[in-house]
């Protein structure tokens, strides 16, 4: 089962693990953000790529995680560590309440409904509900992680925390692929009607994907708020959701290396080409179109011709 893809993935992880030894803190900050966004993109991929649900509101869950940590820390003085569990659980709960009534909607309708949730979310944040969210300013001065009297405040600390988070996410996704859920999701994505006739409860598994994706995005959000010590509504608006959506499709949906490449291209490359300033997004848009025309299934697509062995077992 050790194919080329996993070898490359391991090589990448090793590289990312030693990355801080070679670069200054400016690059480390870019690296940290890359890791955080990669986690969000992977969680988006669980919903969009694997379960095949047209979901364009992922910034909601990312934002919920970030705001949970920020609110509990800034408004209630909880240490960051204590906010981690709620930052994962609250997005999961919201995902369930929000998505359960609409999970049966067909692709494009679900897409617009998730955009709608994102817009409502932003409005809630901007209107400073219960005086908790800080309104349009957001919340500032979020603490760093402290444990046994140590401050994990340097950029290297942040980097490794994000690195561990990415590692955990990859582990979850690996287990997911091998599980019953993984198989079900694979078939739902390939052919929903066939999957249904095989007795797979499509709604249940889609909802499961949503809740799992929301939890992981929440964890990334928590990390994000600590990294920048500030959260504000526009970091979680529809544009951000569209970015996560695009990352998955440009990279290659349901493909781990694809999503990581997508994150690199959509997040790190624009950071590098900041010099071009104004023309940057023009080039970016052209690149999006060209990528889709030349590689409609993404830069590093999953090859559906070769169904991995572990997926073949059990169902047939």
């Amino acid at each position: 089962m050790m194919n080329k893809t996993s070898l490359i993935a391991i090589a990448l992880l090793v590289f990312m693990g030693f990355f801080p030894l070679f670069v200054d803190s400016a690059w480390l900050a870019v690296g940290t953000t890359f890791l955080v966004f990669a986690v969000v993109a992977l969680s988006q991929d669980i919903i969009l790529g694997r379960a095949g649900v047209f979901h364009m509101g992922h910034a909601v869950f990312f934002g919920l995680g970030a705001y949970t940590t920020a609110i509990l820390n800034v408004n209630f003085g909880l240490p960051i560590l204590a906010t981690w569990a709620p930052a994962v659980l609250i997005p999961m709960l919201v995902a369930f309440i929000m998505v359960a009534p609409i999970i049966h909607l067909r692709g494009d309708y679900l897409l617009v409904a998730t955009i709608g949730f994102n817009i409502i979310f932003i409005q809630v944040l901007e209107n400073d509900v219960f005086g908790l969210t800080g309104g349009p300013n957001g919340l500032f001065g979020i603490d760093v992680v402290r444990l046994f009297g140590y401050d994990f405040s340097s950029q290297t600390h942040m980097y490794y925390m994000a690195f561990i988070l990415l590692g955990l996410t990859l582990l979850i996704m690996r287990n997911l692929d091998k599980s019953k859920f993984g198989r079900a999701m694979f078939y739902i994505h390939k052919d929903e009607i066939a999957a249904q006739s095989m007795g797979i409860n499509v709604r249940y598994f889609k909802l499961y994907a949503f809740i799992l994706g929301a939890g992981i995005a929440g964890a990334a959000g928590s990390m994000f708020s600590v990294q920048y010590s500030a959260v504000s509504p526009e970091a979680f608006n529809v544009t951000q959701s569209i970015m996560f959506f695009t990352i998955v499709l440009v990279g290659g949906s349901a493909s781990l290396p694809g999503v990581l490449i997508g994150t690199f291209i959509m997040f790190v490359l624009p950071e590098m080409f900041r010099e071009f300033e104004t023309a940057r997004y023009l080039v970016f848009g052209i690149a999006m179109i060209l990528t889709m025309i030349l590689r409609p299934r993404g830069i590093w697509p999953v090859r559906f011709g070769n169904i991995p062995d572990f997926l073949k077992k059990g169902v047939k």
Partner: protein, 375 residues
């Protein structure tokens, strides 16, 4: 761990644009954090231009403390998240001071990072919350919303004696803060506020909100947001036949306000500090001429000049104290007394607040010229 070789190798490997930006001790770096793109791009570019002009002038004289000054610009797009990213980036670049940002929200999001790193920051953001943390690194080069709010309240209650006041703001950090400060100041004077509302900036269609306001028959509509919405609000107010006065906060004072409101602009009351072209100081006149010569246009507004004053004050103190240590510079800035700025004398309070600021109210005439009606 921090050896040059692997560093350069890694940089090359990722086509780093920062490859050349290795630590060089013979320059002093000044950061600019401003909205170079996005809705406030004209203001951001104006700040960047102003800073570059001053730095060029210094470098022509041989730099500062025997070193050349280098400007590092980071585009925060007027967004808090980008601002936080910029802050990290500029700190990592090793800048001594950061000029900006334009909006209060972007300024605030970056503050903590600069403070933790001991990097000076000077901004024209007017939100009162900017000095709430009392960071020693932060200096406001404009005047706070609370000062404008108090002036506005005095004008409304003592001057105009309005009985029914409507307050509108948008969702931006600055506008919300100014509206809140104005409401607070008005309430302290027992004024009667009949409606407080928010409009969504850029949504263009405000007729629904205005129709609702019409049914309340107010004396005055005060708007604390930006000219891009203010001009439209005024035009639609006149269109709907609402006979209240329209008073705009400082960010409505912009030539585009007149164009947007068209004929409806007549009679608008604008509250602001003096505009660039009427600044009486010689330094201001010279600077405006230089700016125009280099960039072939006028600065976007008074705000970029205030940021330029922030930079000038910092460079002045560096020269005086012969030190590039930020602690020393901060002390020097606090000790400044009426430093001659483009926008008037510069003096900072202990919490980084700039002291002073004379507000006035202009009435827009039929030919779009200003008449000072209250001071």
């Amino acid at each position: 761990m921090k050896k040059m070789l692997p560093k350069i190798a890694a940089s090359l490997a990722v086509c780093s644009i920062l490859a050349g930006a290795s630590v060089a001790a013979d320059v002093i770096k000044i950061g600019v954090q401003a909205p170079i793109t996005g809705s406030y791009a004209s203001e951001g570019q104006s700040i960047d231009n102003g800073v570059k002009l001053i730095v060029e002038q210094y470098n022509a004289k041989g730099g500062i403390l025997g070193k050349k000054i280098e400007v590092v610009t980071c585009d925060d797009q007027g967004a808090a998240q980008q601002a936080a990213i910029c802050a990290k980036k500029l700190v990592n670049e090793g800048v001594k001071a950061v000029i900006g940002s334009y909006t209060s929200g972007a300024t605030e999001a970056a503050q903590t990072t600069y403070h933790r790193a001991g990097v000076l920051q000077t901004s024209d953001g007017t939100s009162d919350s900017l000095i709430a943390h009392k960071y020693w690194t932060f200096f406001r080069n404009s005047f706070p919303n609370s000062a404008e709010a108090e002036y506005t309240a005095k004008y409304f209650v003592d001057g105009k004696q309005y009985k029914k006041i409507v307050i509108l703001s948008d969702y931006s950090s600055y506008s919300t803060d100014l509206a809140d400060a104005t409401v607070k100041a008005l309430k302290a004077k027992n004024a009667n506020i009949i409606y407080e509302g928010k409009i969504k900036s850029g949504s263009q269609n405000f007729t629904a909100t205005l129709t609702k306001i019409k049914s309340m028959d107010p004396d005055v509509i005060y708007f604390s947001g930006y000219y891009t919405d203010g001009g439209l609000l005024r035009a639609q107010q006149i269109q709907l036949g609402i006979k209240a006065d329209f008073v705009g906060g400082d960010s409505n004072d912009n030539p585009d306000y007149m164009k947007l409101a068209g004929d409806s602009a007549k009679g608008t009351l604008l509250i602001n500090v003096p505009t660039p072209d009427i600044l009486p100081y010689d330094i201001a006149k010279t600077f405006l001429v230089d700016y125009k010569a280099k960039f072939n246009m006028a600065p976007a507004s008074i705000w970029s000049l205030m940021n330029v004053d922030g930079l000038r004050a910092i460079l002045h103190v560096m020269e005086q104290s012969k030190s590039d240590d930020t602690k020393v510079i901060a002390e020097g800035l606090h000790a400044l007394k009426d430093f001659p700025g483009i926008t008037g004398p510069v003096t900072f309070r202990e919490d980084g607040e700039r002291i002073g600021g004379g507000y006035m109210t202009y009435e827009v005439q039929a030919d779009k010229s200003y008449k000072i009606v209250y001071q």
